[in-house]
């Protein structure tokens, strides 16, 4: 597409987010690009690398202990999106810290670590250990608190939809994260996302990420039962883009809290819609699963305008 007249920024230039300079405004979203390592040798004729121009890879959410996740099947495609019920399968914080994060650093992948926990107070120790182990890392830029994954019973629904809990999580993490960006990822499954954003800001985040997946369900017509063993899944992809835009607008105009826009972004046009509403950065989720170069392509398209 052509550069829109109103577009003045350079999304591939470094920008400040709280205490930290990040290398760009186009990121990959948590859970849709693994730990950011699986595609390191992928090539494409039209794009230098899956990491070219990225501001950050937000890692799959890491929990204190390893998790095996939910029973299969975990994914259902719908006509304009998908439902997932992965259940936060991850290697656990220890393995992440000793194995994954050093490799990301070694490969120079700009990284935001996504964390989830069962109680707000669990965030403190994780962030402290991160800080201790990785304070010298140049490519570790921050932490995103996943306060919104609807697939995990103990940390699900109510966890992230109470402003007070959001505040406690943020406060616990902020205390030990003086020099990296701190983000809270908010749930859209609430009537008032703006008040969650305010709670997060007041407790010390540098930005909020919005949105995580929307609660959805699909029925297998052969059985008349939901496809997913846990009935509900997290709805993502193109279908939720207008919902994400609405939530981002509610936060930006309602509160002024800096927002990283997530939800349904696959193309530069999609990303621009979030920037138009005032998002400071964007994340590409589901589209990154289809195309490991999706975020890099968005960054390339935006970057090309800055030089023209």
């Amino acid at each position: 597409m052509k550069r829109p007249d109103w577009w003045r920024s350079d999304a591939t230039a470094p920008f400040r987010l709280g205490p930290r300079m990040l290398p760009g405004r186009v990121w990959t979203a948590s859970g849709c690009f693994g730990y950011g390592l699986a595609a390191h040798d992928f090539t494409a004729a039209d794009c230098a690398s899956p990491y070219a121009g990225l501001g950050a890879v937000v890692t799959k959410t890491v929990t204190p202990l390893p998790r095996e996740g939910n029973p299969m099947p975990r994914l259902v495609e719908t006509p304009c999106g998908a439902l997932n019920s992965i259940g936060l399968e991850n290697v656990g914080f220890d393995a992440f810290l000793t194995t994954v994060l050093p490799e990301l650093e070694a490969r120079g992948v700009p990284t935001i670590v996504s964390l989830a926990a069962t109680t707000p107070e669990d965030f403190g120790p994780m962030v402290r250990r991160l800080h201790d182990a990785a304070s010298g890392f140049r490519h570790w830029h921050g932490v995103e608190l996943n306060l919104s994954c609807p697939n995990v019973a103990e940390g699900g629904h109510d966890f992230g939809s109470s402003p007070a809990t959001v505040a406690r999580c943020v406060a616990a993490a902020r205390a030990d994260l003086p020099d990296r960006a701190l983000l809270a990822k908010l749930t859209p499954n609430t009537a008032d996302i703006a008040q969650l954003a305010v709670a997060a800001r007041d407790a010390g985040v540098d930005a909020v990420s919005a949105i995580n997946t929307v609660v959805g369900l699909d029925v297998d017509l052969r059985t008349g039962q939901p496809y997913l063993p846990r009935r509900f899944g997290g709805y993502s992809g193109a279908a939720i883009l207008p919902i994400a835009l609405a939530k981002v607008d509610q936060i930006v105009r309602g509160t002024g809290v800096p927002v990283v826009g997530v939800g349904g972004i696959a193309t530069v046009e999609d990303a621009l819609k979030f920037f138009a509403l005032g998002a400071v950065a964007v994340q590409v989720g589901t589209a990154q699963m289809r195309d490991p170069f999706a975020a890099a392509r968005v960054a390339a398209a935006l970057g090309q305008w800055s030089s023209s």
């Binding site: 859970g31 992928f42 090539t43 494409a44 004729a45 975990r74 994914l75 289809r290």
Partner: protein, 286 residues
């Protein structure tokens, strides 16, 4: 994992897309980049642009050469129906090759290839690359009309569930595909024989049971519903034995080829039964 060719995210154009039997389509695509693969690997395929499905669809590689790739598929749902509607010249996006291939043959190995229905491509590709005169290449289908005779030529042994309608000049045993080799005395017992199998779950169970009985090694190619195909979403996990316990492995990155002995779901029970396999199992025969 080492030595796998790196995946490319390629744009391609359909060269040909035709039925090669009553139920199987062959798709030939030319890519904008060179393409190399190992037998057993697969690609994720999609329509590019606004008509893309949210998730690409996984298909084993039947053949690939220079900058072309060929698939063999059956129409089972909307993605494969859309695929079947693509005429020559249609653009497609292709990500691959992906996944763990079948192992290359060791010195002195005798190989038993077992392909059921659209489970043919990985074993077919292996046979083309590494097949030797002493190996047994076996294909099973539900009925004679399904068999892609032109592709298989003379060297493949064929079995069909239902032998009705077998045309003159075509030979096929009746029964499950494992019966083609179960009691083949020319195949020695013991680990010199390696079975490579791909097809519906009952075929894989029968293959694993046969291999156990005769002391053969056995590798199977699994199917699971996939989101990404390259290991990042954890949408395709299968349970594998690891030392004394079980853990999740990704079908797309740790597999789709697994050592049958490491799959508790496959070898755990004595009798092959239907329906308790992975969520998707290659429709086909046997």
């Amino acid at each position: 994992m080492t030595g796998r060719p790196a995946a490319v995210a390629a744009f391609g154009k359909v060269i040909a897309n035709e039925l090669v039997s009553s139920a199987f389509h062959r798709l030939d695509v030319v890519l904008d980049v060179p393409f190399a693969f190992l037998p057993g690997q697969f690609v994720m395929i999609n329509e590019p642009g606004p008509r893309a499905w949210t998730f690409s669809r996984p298909f084993s590689i039947l053949a690939g050469d220079g900058d072309t790739v060929a698939l063999l598929y059956r129409v089972v749902g909307r993605g494969t129906a859309a695929l079947a509607a693509l005429g020559p010249g249609s653009p497609v996006s292709v990500l691959g090759p992906l996944g763990e291939p079948f192992p290359a043959p060791a010195e002195g190995q005798v190989t038993v290839l077992l392909g059921g229905g659209v489970g043919l491509p990985p074993v077919f590709a292996w046979w083309r690359r590494w097949g030797q005169p002493g190996d047994a290449a076996c294909f099973g289908a539900r009925h004679a009309g399904e068999v892609p005779w032109g592709l298989l030529g003379d060297t493949w042994r064929v079995s069909v569930d239902d032998p009705a309608g077998l045309a003159a000049g075509h030979r096929a045993a009746s029964g499950v595909v494992t019966s083609l080799v179960a009691d083949d005395a020319e195949l020695p017992d013991g680990p010199r024989v390696v079975t490579l199998a791909c097809g519906p779950w009952p075929l894989l169970r029968a293959a694993a049971a046969l291999a156990r009985r005769r002391g053969w090694r056995c590798w199977v190619s699994l199917e699971e519903h996939m989101g990404c195909g390259y290991g990042v979403c954890k949408g395709c996990v299968v349970r594998v034995a690891d030392g004394g316990h079980e853990r999740n492995a990704t079908c797309c990155q740790d597999g789709p080829v697994f050592d049958a002995e490491r799959l508790p779901g496959l070898v755990g029970s004595d009798l092959p039964t239907c329906g308790d396999g992975p969520t998707g199992a290659k429709g086909g025969c046997a």
